[in-house]
């Protein structure tokens, strides 16, 4: 009996060691406990700006093909703005999906207030229809998608501290576009852009912060 137990234990231990040798290898590739701590909950995802950005006077076209005046439509409302493009396989859908998860957790009254605006950096490919289709999958049908002339979009982004280059066609015919480095939150109290989120902000970070942003408070 004792012998049998010992063997069973040995077997389980071997199995566990074998499994953990694989899992351990994966952990080495960037999710060691140390890096978890620095990227985790004890460090704030939000950067609150000492000098907030004035909301730019940006007039573009929404996913229904209608004129959309950013200042007029988002005046006095908490607003998140992100610059990206739909041919972006990783960071753009990740960012919008993280925001959408947090958005869906807000009470309806807060959801009615919060404006989430995705501005394309690749207007030639991102037609209103393409943007609308993508936003339904990547974000939420209530999010606003904007397209227009690249110089107007670039100028608007620059006034929010976001640098974007025009899409560039490579020799092989592929197009290299660029997404913005940060999501900007505008306050319902001042209409100024006062908080930044980098692209490694998680859904949980947004879940924590959106209720504050809706009130115009510092997260």
């Amino acid at each position: 009996m004792l012998k049998k137990n010992a063997l069973a234990v040995a077997l389980v231990a071997t199995a566990a060691l074998t499994l953990s040798s694989c899992a351990g290898d994966t952990a080495d590739s960037g999710s060691s406990p140390v890096s978890d701590v620095s990227a985790g909950t004890d460090e704030k995802a939000a950067t609150v700006l000492d000098r907030p950005f004035e909301k730019p006077d940006l007039v573009l076209t929404d996913t229904h093909g209608k004129k959309y005046d950013l200042r007029e439509r988002t005046k006095g409302k908490p607003t998140l703005v992100y610059f990206g493009y739909t041919n972006c396989p990783d960071v753009c859908p990740l960012t919008m999906s993280n925001i959408a998860i947090a958005y869906k957790k807000l009470p309806q009254a807060d959801r009615d207030k919060l404006q989430v605006v995705f501005v394309t950096t690749d207007p030639e490919r991102d037609t209103p229809e393409a943007l609308g289709k993508w936003l339904k999958g990547a974000g939420d049908p209530s999010f606003t998608g904007l397209t227009g002339d690249f110089p107007a979009i670039q100028a608007g982004a620059r006034r929010m501290g976001i640098g974007i280059d025009p899409p560039k066609k490579e020799k092989d015919g592929s197009v290299v576009s660029m997404h913005g480095a940060q999501v900007i939150a505008f306050s319902p109290k001042t209409d100024a852009g006062y908080v930044l989120y980098s692209d490694d902000t998680t859904a949980d970070d947004y879940i924590e912060d959106l209720p504050e942003l809706v009130e115009g408070k510092n997260p």
């Binding site: 063997l7 694989c22 994966t26 960037g30 396989p89 960071v91 859908p93 576009s177 660029m178």
Partner: protein, 152 residues
């Protein structure tokens, strides 16, 4: 079952676990490579998808990931991310006694011309081609769109 059989069974099970845990290259004399932590975030449209994985190289010979193929996509390219831009790369280095990490926000596989939209719970098969090692098949479980192992 005598003790020897039980031990043999244990050894066989262990071997099975090793195989299930990691896919190892059946390289013909090239460096011994293995793929770990592979996944695909569920794409948001049926136009394109991204894939992430780590290629471990436990040998003293450096190699290079040169191309990727998959049944589900007309085209798979390897993409290098620099700042907020990504462009197709010719190849990715797999350093000797090191690893190639394709991870969220960084370098990645890009699947185009999808034959069907992968859904969470599906598994996508890819074949990785290297300059020296033989091709490696890897299975990418499809996870939620926001899946990011570095953040969990």
């Amino acid at each position: 079952m005598n003790r020897r059989t039980i031990l043999a069974t244990a050894a066989a099970l262990t071997a099975g676990l090793v195989l299930a845990g990691c896919s190892t290259g059946s390289g013909s004399g090239g460096p011994a490579l293995k793929v770990e932590g592979a996944f695909m975030p569920e794409p948001v449209t049926d136009d394109m998808a991204a894939g992430f994985l780590t290629v471990k190289n436990d040998s003293g010979t450096a190699d290079r990931l040169t191309s990727v193929t998959s049944d589900i996509a007309g085209e798979v390219t390897i993409h290098r991310t620099t700042g907020q831009k990504m462009r197709e790369a010719e190849s990715f280095d797999v350093p000797a006694d090191g690893e190639l990490n394709l991870e969220r926000g960084g370098n990645h596989l890009m699947f185009m011309e999808l034959r069907k939209k992968p859904e969470q719970g599906d598994t996508v098969s890819v074949e990785l081609h290297f300059e020296k090692a033989g091709p490696i098949r890897a299975e990418l479980p499809v996870k939620e769109t926001t899946h990011n192992p570095d953040k969990q």
